[in-house]
C-alpha cells in the first residue's frame, strides 16, 4: 500500500508540464513560441536538452528543424513521443534517453546549429553545469548558439523580494496541485555562461526579470575550471538530531532529504585514496561518513539517486550505471585520483550494471560491503569481503527502526479515521496497533512462516490469545464487543505482518501479498457483517 502512495506522490509527466506552466504563470508557452519563431530555421539541427514532455520539441520541429530531444526520464520521453506522433512530426525528431553528461559520447562534434536548455540548468548540479559548458562548444557548428530559458534571481532588491514572495506561494501551490518541486532559480544566468567564456546576451525577460531567455555563443578560448570538491565530516549536532528524527518518522514519505551530489573528501585523502560511491539520501551519506570519518581518508562520490537510499534507488532505476558514469565524468575524478578503482555499495548491484561502467570509463568496479561500518575492515583486508560483509541481516535495532518508519505512516491512514469516526476507541486501537507492531518486530525471526502473509497466521493466533486473556481478566464486555475486537485484531495482525514485509530485506516486496491481503480483508468484512446478522445480535 505504501508503494501505491509513494507512486502517487511521484511526479508524472503531465503533472510536470502543468507544474512548469504554473510556476512560470503561463509565460513558458509564450517563450517557447518565441524561440521556435525567432531561432529556428528550416533544416537546422537542434538539440533540445531536457525536452520534458516535448512541448518545445514539437514547436521547433513544426518550424522545420531536425531535433534531437534528450531527457533522462523514460516517462517524459514516452509522453513526448506520443505528442510528436500525434503532430505527425516523427520524421524530424529523434529521442534519446540520456543523462546530460553522456551527450558528448552520443553526438558527433559540430552536430548542432542550436542547443536549447529550457528550464534545465537550474535543475543541474554545478558539476554537471560545468561539464555542459565545456561540452557545448564541441557540439556546436562554428556559428552555433545556446539558448537558455530559466528562472534566475532578479538583480534589483524590489523585484527580488516580489519574486521570492510569489515563488514561495507558487511552490506550495504547485506541489499541492501537481506534486512537482522545481529547483531554486539560477543565481545569475549571465555570469554562469560569461565565466565559461561565452558571449552572453539577454534576449527577453518576464515576471520582473525572474524568468529570462539568454543567448550564448562560445568564446574562442576554452576556459579551464577549478576542481569542485566538498568536505564531509561526522559532526553530531542539534540539527543532525532533528534530521535523524525527521528521517526516522517520515522515512517512507517523500520528498526525501538529499545531499548535493558530487565529489567529497573525508579526512585528508590523496591521489591513492579509495573512492567510495554512494547514493544521495541524506541519511545514507551521513551514515557512510559516520562509519569512516576519523578511521580513514577517502573520496566519497555521491551520485544523484533522487534522494533515495542505495538499495531502493538501485531497484527502482534511480541508481544506475549511467548515473555513476555521469558522476565520474562530471566530478572529473581522473584529475583527483591516480588509480581507477571505484568501490560501489554491494546493494547497488541490483540496478548498477558494473560492466557498463568498466566499459565506459575504464574504471575497475568492486563491490564493497553491505554495511558502511564494514568499510574500514574491508579496506584493511585489501578489498576481500568476508561472508559476513556480504550478507544482509535484519537485527532487532533495524527491525524497530523500520517499524517506527512504517507505523508513523500507517498510523495516519488507520488512526485518523478512527479518531474522527470512532473516537472512544482511539486509544485502544492505537495501543493494539503499536503493540502488535512491536511484538512482530521483536519476535520476527521466531515467528514461523517464510513471508509476512504466512507469519500473519501465527501472529493473529498469538494476538487473539492475548486478547482472550485480557477479556477473561479485564472488565466484562458484551459478546458483540468481544467479537468486533476479535475481527479487528485479526485484521490488524494480517495488515501488520503483510505490510512490514516491504521493509524486511529478507523477503520479497510487500506487493507479493496484495491479492491475498485483499481477499482476507473481504472475508473479514463479511464475517464482521454477516455473523452478527445471522446470529440475530443487535
Amino acid at each position: 500500500m505504501a508503494t501505491v502512495f509513494m507512486k502517487w506522490l511521484e511526479t508524472n509527466p503531465k503533472d510536470y508540464e502543468r507544474g512548469i506552466r504554473l510556476i512560470t504563470l503561463g509565460r513558458i508557452t509564450r517563450i517557447r513560441e518565441k524561440i521556435a519563431a525567432e531561432y529556428v530555421k528550416p533544416g537546422n539541427q537542434v538539440l533540445d536538452l531536457g525536452s520534458g514532455t516535448g512541448e518545445l520539441t514539437r514547436m521547433i520541429a513544426a518550424a522545420g528543424a531536425q531535433v534531437s530531444a534528450v531527457d533522462a526520464s523514460p516517462g517524459m520521453l514516452d509522453e513526448a513521443e506520443e505528442k510528436i506522433q500525434a503532430a505527425e512530426l516523427d520524421q524530424q525528431v529523434r529521442f534519446h534517453q540520456l543523462d546530460a553528461a553522456m551527450i558528448d559520447e552520443v553526438f558527433e562534434p559540430q552536430s548542432f546549429d542550436l542547443i536549447i536548455c529550457s528550464m534545465v540548468f537550474s535543475a543541474l548540479q554545478p558539476e554537471l553545469q560545468r561539464y555542459l559548458l565545456q561540452t557545448f562548444p564541441q557540439l556546436l557548428t562554428p556559428n552555433g548558439k545556446v539558448v537558455i530559458v530559466d528562472e534566475s534571481l532578479p538583480k534589483s532588491w524590489f523585484n527580488r523580494s516580489l519574486y521570492k514572495l510569489r515563488r514561495g506561494a507558487l511552490t506550495v501551490l504547485t506541489w499541492l496541485l501537481t506534486r512537482t518541486i522545481f529547483s531554486q532559480p539560477l543565481a545569475d544566468t549571465r555570469a554562469i555562461f560569461s565565466k565559461a567564456g561565452y558571449n552572453t546576451q539577454l534576449i527577453s525577460s518576464y515576471l520582473g526579470s525572474s524568468l529570462t531567455i539568454f543567448e550564448a555563443q562560445p568564446g574562442s578560448v576554452p576556459v579551464e575550471f577549478h576542481q569542485l570538491v566538498g568536505r564531509l565530516h561526522h559532526a553530531p549536532s542539534l540539527l543532525t538530531l532533528f534530521k535523524d528524527l525527521l528521517e526516522l518518522f517520515f522515512r517512507i514519505m517523500p520528498p526525501y532529504p538529499k545531499t548535493k551530489a558530487g565529489l567529497y573528501a573525508v579526512g585528508q585523502p590523496d591521489a591513492q585514496s579509495a573512492v567510495l560511491v554512494t547514493g544521495n539520501y541524506d541519511l545514507t551519506v551521513r551514515r557512510l561518513v559516520k562509519a569512516i570519518d576519523g578511521k580513514l581518508n577517502a573520496w566519497v562520490l555521491v551520485v544523484d539517486t533522487a534522494g533515495i537510499n542505495v538499495w531502493c534507488s538501485a531497484g527502482a532505476g534511480y541508481f544506475s550505471a549511467e548515473k555513476v558514469i555521469s558522476a565520474i565524468k562530471t566530478a572529473r575524478l581522473d584529475k583527483v585520483v591516480s588509480h581507477k578503482t571505484m568501490i560501489l555499495p554491494q546493494l547497488a548491484a541490483n540496478g548498477v550494471d558494473g560492466w557498463k561502467i568498466r566499459e565506459a570509463t575504464g574504471c575497475e568496479v568492486t563491490w564493497g560491503p553491505v554495511r558502511a561500518e564494514d568499510i574500514p575492515g574491508y579496506l584493511d583486508r585489501q578489498g576481500q569481503k568476508t561472508e559476513d560483509m556480504r550478507l544482509v541481516r535484519f537485527p532487532l535495532l533495524d527491525r524497530l527502526e523500520m517499524l517506527t518508519a512504517v507505523l508513523s505512516f500507517y498510523a495516519l491512514i488507520i488512526l485518523l479515521p478512527v479518531l474522527f469516526f470512532w473516537r472512544e476507541n482511539f486509544w485502544p486501537v492505537t495501543l493494539a496497533l503499536v503493540g502488535i507492531g512491536l511484538f512482530y518486530a521483536i519476535f520476527l525471526p521466531w515467528i514461523p512462516g517464510k513471508d509476512g502473509l504466512v507469519k500473519s497466521l501465527p501472529l493473529s493466533l498469538i494476538v487473539l490469545a492475548g486478547y482472550l486473556v485480557y477479556s477473561l481478566l479485564g472488565p466484562p464486555a458484551s459478546l458483540q464487543t468481544e467479537f468486533n475486537w476479535g475481527v479487528g485484531l485479526v485484521g490488524l495482525s494480517v495488515f501488520t505482518a503483510a505490510e512490514l514485509q516491504g521493509c524486511s530485506p529478507l523477503m520479497r516486496g510487500e506487493q507479493a501479498n496484495w491479492i491475498a491481503e485483499g481477499i482476507i480483508a473481504i472475508v473479514l468484512g463479511l464475517i464482521y457483517f454477516l455473523v452478527p446478522a445471522t446470529l440475530g445480535w443487535n
Binding site: 507512486k7 503533472d15 550494471d353 560492466w355 563491490w367 556480504r390 516486496g509 507479493a512 501479498n513
Partner: protein, 87 residues
Amino acid sequence: MEDQITNPSIRDLIMEHLELALTLKKLRIYFDPEKCTGVWECLQVCPVGCWEADQALGKVIYVHAERCIACGACGLQCPEGAIELRV
C-alpha cells in the same frame, strides 16, 4: 489544453500493483552452468548467500534457492548471461 491533462488514477496504480503482486512471487533464478566461467560476480553481490563457489570446476553452484529475494543482482552482474531472473 489544460482539460486534456489527467493524472494516472489511483485505480491505475492499484492495477499496476496487482500485476506486480502476480509476478513477484513467481520470479525465480534460471542458471545455466554451461555458460558459467567462474567470474564470481554473482557470489560477490548476492545479499542472501544463494551462491557458492565450486573451486574444482571453476564455476558457481546455485545452492540456496530458498533464500532468493528476487533482487536480480546476480543476473545483472553476470557477464556471461548465465543467470536470469524471470517468471
